[in-house]
Amino acid sequence: MMAERFGNDELPADLAARWRADAISKSDRPEEFWVGQRMRIRGRVQRNASPSPRSLRFAIASAALIFLAVFLIAPAGPLPPEPAQHAVFDADQQLLLAVEHALAVGTPEALEPVTLLEASSNSDVETIPQKEHHHEN
């Protein structure tokens, strides 16, 4: 019976009508429900339109907390001289003194100009064979 009533591309009109009526009856609610729903919608719209007092309170509390933290952490008077800076100064001073001392003593042999090095190496040439001879023995 059911199959015969079906066309190819539509629901039978009476079945469609009954199904629609059934769907409407399933979603039927008492008037109080619709009134309550409208009130809830209105409430949500109003909350959405005005800034939330809860978030405002949270923002104020956060700002106060940050202010308090900064106030407590910040120093009350001028900063005392830092010993660490003294240590750095002393080390620098010592290094400068060491450099000055090294310059006063004279240039180390390894850092002498090339000409001096060459001169010293030429003077050593004559002594090298004697040294080699000495090693052969």
């Binding site: 009954r18 769907a23 399933k26």
Partner: protein, 191 residues
């Protein structure tokens, strides 16, 4: 420009108008039942349908200024509602079967015999009820897209063009989805 109640009810594409805040109460009164019905049929959960109806009108309110009357108010609201259902389905996919079972139980309890009052004999009444139940079962097993199209077409009696606008689809796609949905329903009812 404000819209009177009759103007809102009959607003079509021929007379597109923007909506202002003063219209909003009227819009809620006019369309809350329809929006709730679509949501209930799609979600199968009265509580979720109620929550999303509220959400739908809230979104409508916040996007009211961007509404330029490209479609009528009903289509605009149904579009918002369907998008909410899609988001909801994505968010709560795990609870789907639970809600489905709950709704089927409720459907069995909520059966309203009034639509069958026109049926003459008890035997025909029983057959008609079976037929109706078979349609409900078939609709319940449709894909999400097919269900949307089927419900908007047969529960809300919307035109194909309106369905296409509400679901953001082409009319050809709506026709295809409707054809497949009807085939599925037909096969299920014939069993």
């Amino acid at each position: 420009m404000s819209l009177s109640l009759p103007a809102l009810a009959t607003q079509t594409q021929e007379c597109p108008r923007a909506i202002i805040a003063e219209d909003f109460e009227e819009i809620v009164c006019l369309y809350q039942r329809k929006v709730y019905r679509v949501l209930l049929l799609l979600l199968k959960d009265p509580e979720d349908a109620d929550n999303l109806t509220q959400e739908c009108f809230l979104r409508a309110y916040t996007s009211m200024k961007s509404f330029r009357g490209e479609c009528n108010v009903q289509t605009w609201l149904i579009r918002i509602a369907v998008n909410l259902v899609r988001d909801h389905a994505r968010n709560r996919r795990t609870g789907f079967w639970k809600r489905l079972l709950r709704f089927e139980d409720q459907c069995a309890a909520d059966i309203d015999p009034e639509p069958l009052a026109i049926v003459a004999s008890p035997e025909r009444g029983l057959l008609a009820r079976e037929e109706l139940d078979a349609v409900w079962r078939a609709v319940g097993s449709l894909s999400a897209r097919q269900k949307e199209v089927f419900i908007l077409r047969f529960a809300e009696e919307m035109e194909l063009k309106e369905i296409a606008e509400a679901l953001d689809l082409r009319i050809g796609t709506v026709k295809t989805q409707l054809f497949r949905a009807l085939n599925h329903v037909r096969e299920q009812v014939r069993r």
